[in-house]
Structures are given as structure tokens and as C-alpha cells.
Amino acid sequence: MRLFKSHDLPGTLICVEGIDGSGKSTQLAILRDWLKSKNLDVIFTEWNSSELISQTTKKAKKKNLLSPRTFSLLHAVDFADRLEQIIIPALKAGFIVLADRYVYTAFARDVARGVDRDWVRNLYGFAVQPDLALYYDISAEISLERICANRAPSFYEAGMDLKLSNNPYKSYVIFQNRVNEEYASMVEEFGLVKIDANNTIHSKQILLRKYVTDVLQQKGIQL
């Protein structure tokens, strides 16, 4: 299956992973501006944003209609749609594709929800293997502090569907800790590059640019 071997498309696929509040989206936004300033062709895509299904999924989440399996499948539909419509065409055209979350988000969250590990890996077997996948590691407690600066955790974010605790804040920490455990195990399994997300935005960006520069160099792009 495609996910388990490197692709031979001209473009470069870079993705960032990690639980909410890890600062990965900020890092990717700064990286994007930098790459664009170098006149490179860059395209950005984020989790659960497809024209086909993202609105349906958001509505279903609001109504708490999803089981772990349907949650998993709807996100897979979203991913498959973006893969075929956005990611693969851009890679064929030689773009640098920046993905805010990729299949590893599903592997971490769905398994933390009790979905079978092999089943969800098979589900996303059609995905293209990234050239670089970074995992921004932050504790569930700090994540909670950051996201709750302006809102409460949502039902599925907090894993309230798993009935871990009646308190959404406590549930969030238990659930996101599980997600982090899954991410940690994928460092070896998929070669995710683990980054300490507690560092400053500046130092994290310097590190990110170093990794990106190396990967692009292998593709024949000098920065």
C-alpha cells in the first residue's frame, strides 16, 4: 500500500502533527510565508476541510451523532477527498504541500478512541507517504491551558464520548494523554520527527527550517 513506501512524485509533502495547542499551525504558517518568499510553489491543506464532507462531519459532531468508527470513517472520507483533489495533483505539479495534520492524527485519535490499530492503518493505506512528518510534543495539561484560554474543550476533543470522566476538563487530559501515547509510539513506527513544543516559536522555527531545508535539498531544491 502507498502509505508504506516512499512516493516518486516530483513534489514534496511535509506535515505537522500533535495535539491542539502544540503550536504546530503557527509553525506551519510561518514556514509557508518563508517558502513563498523564496518564490517556491507552496500549497496548504488542513484536516477536516474538504468540500465534500467537512460540514457534515462538523454538524454530526455538534449533535454527538458519531461512534468511534463513524468518526473515523468520516474523517477518512475528508482525507481521501483532499488527497485526490488537492494533495496528489499538487505533488504531481511539483508543489511543496504543507499539511496541518495528516493520517497520523487519525491513527492517534481513533486508536485512543478504541478503534483497532490495524484497521485504521489499513483504512488510510491509500495515502501518500510524507517526505517529512513532525510531531510537536506537548503535555495534555499545557494543551488544555492553551486551548481553554478562550473556550471550553469540545465534546469529541475531550473524548467525552468515551465516558472517561463527567468533567470535560479532566476527560480532556485523560483522552489527550492517550493520543500523545499513540503519537509517541509512531515516532519509531513511521519515523515521525519529535519536536519539544515547549520551546519558543523562534527556536522551533529555526529547527523546522533546518529539517525542511534538508528534505528539499534531497529533492534538488536549494534554499
Binding site: L52, L66, S67, R69, T70, L73, L74, E84, N122, L123
Partner: protein
């Protein structure tokens, strides 16, 4: 995780009717439902693509021609998972006879014809309980064509127009449904289908089905 080759341990009975479009499934299901209820058993019918979660999304996406083979497959898988968890399993656990118009075999046939990997599709559905009985209504392509043209007319998706088999509607339907029939034929032995000649008079088909269902009921599982 359940597997398609292990008997299920739910209280009720799971009976499936498979066959291509125009093979007479709905008619037979309705007759069978009445017969089962006359015998004082609880009976529930569930049809393919009727989940509250996603069925309308599939129709809409089909109308707008938004689907590729993978998203087509995954949307149906999400529909199936939702119906299985919210309708089929609860009914089975309550001791109902559940009559299903199409089951995982429909997905196997259609997805493979659309070029997807059979092992991938099988794993996608590997949690589905194995039916107690699978009827297959076998109708040759020329008779199917007449039936469909004489009733609903040729539909874009039922003709497999999305996979570009032919620009001619009639030819496309013939090739697409022919390929689906080939897939069903391959599955007959693998999954122990009770294959019934779908060109027989309606009452005769019904009698044949009843004789098999009677044997199941005689096991006393539901008494």
C-alpha cells in the same frame, strides 16, 4: 474484532438478500417480511444507504459528481457502520430477524469494479457480523437491462458512468453490471450464497427462500 468468517453471537438472525440492481430484491424482502411476521417473529428490514448520518450526503455528492472511487467507497462504509451500530446490531441483540437489502458483498463487488484493492475493502468491513443466511438473486445481464429500462431507467451511477467504461449509456450499464455480476459469481462459493434463479416467477422464488428460512427458525434460536 468480529470477522466476516466467524458466526455472530447476537440473539437474532441476520438474513441478507444480494443481487444487482433490478434483480428483484425489494419485492422478495417485502414478501419475506410478511411471512416472518405471520409466524409471530419480530422482523426488521434495513436497506443499503439509508443511515440518518450520511445517506443524504451520498445522494448530494452523486448529484454533483463529486466522488472518486475511494470517497465513494468510504462514504458507503460510513453509511454501513452507522446503520450497523444504530439499527442492525440493536435489533439483533433484541432477538429480531433482520432482513438486509444488500450487505458488505455489494461493497466488495462495486469497489473492486471501480478498481480498488479487494483486501483493502475486505478489511474496511471486517468488523461486520457474518450473516446466518445470504440469498443471491441471479439474473443474467440481458434480462436485467430490460427490467431496469422498463422501470427506473438507466441511472448514471448504476451504469458505472463515473469510471468511463463507455460514453454510451446502454453499453456502459451492460459492461458495469456485467463486471458486478462477475464479482458476485466469484463470491458465491467463498461466502456460501444461496443462489436463486432470479428469472423464476416471484412466488417460486419466495417459496425457495421460505424453505431456507424455515430451517433457520427450526433451530429454535428465537423461541
Amino acid at each position: 474484532m468480529e470477522n466476516n468468517t466467524n458466526p455472530h453471537n447476537h440473539k437474532g438472525l441476520l438474513i441478507v438478500i444480494e443481487g444487482t440492481d433490478g434483480s428483484g430484491k425489494s419485492t422478495q424482502i417485502e414478501k419475506l417480511r410478511r411471512w416472518i411476521e405471520d409466524k409471530s417473529y419480530g422482523c426488521m428490514v434495513s436497506e443499503w444507504k439509508t443511515s440518518r448520518l450520511i445517506a443524504n450526503v451520498i445522494d448530494d455528492a452523486k448529484d454533483r459528481n463529486l466522488l472518486n472511487a475511494t470517497t465513494f467507497s468510504l462514504l458507503y462504509a460510513a453509511d454501513f457502520a452507522d446503520r450497523l451500530e444504530n439499527t442492525i446490531i440493536p435489533a439483533l441483540d433484541s432477538g429480531f430477524v433482520v432482513l438486509l437489502d444488500r450487505y458488505t458483498y455489494t461493497a466488495f463487488a462495486r469497489d473492486v469494479v471501480r478498481g480498488l484493492d479487494i483486501d483493502w475493502v475486505k478489511k474496511l468491513y471486517n468488523y461486520a457480523p457474518q450473516p446466518d443466511l445470504v440469498f443471491y438473486l441471479d439474473v443474467p445481464i440481458d434480462i436485467l437491462l430490460k427490467r431496469v429500462i422498463g422501470t427506473t431507467g438507466l441511472d448514471y451511477w448504476e451504469s458505472g458512468r463515473d469510471i468511463g467504461l463507455s460514453t454510451d449509456f446502454y453499453e456502459s450499464f451492460k459492461i458495469y453490471q456485467g463486471k458486478c455480476l462477475e464479482e458476485y459469481n466469484k463470491m458465491k462459493d467463498i461466502y456460501n450464497f444461496v443462489s436463486i434463479d432470479g428469472t423464476l416467477p416471484c412466488e417460486e422464488i419466495h417459496k425457495k427462500m421460505i424453505s431456507h428460512v424455515e430451517k433457520l427458525l427450526e433451530t429454535g434460536k428465537l423461541d
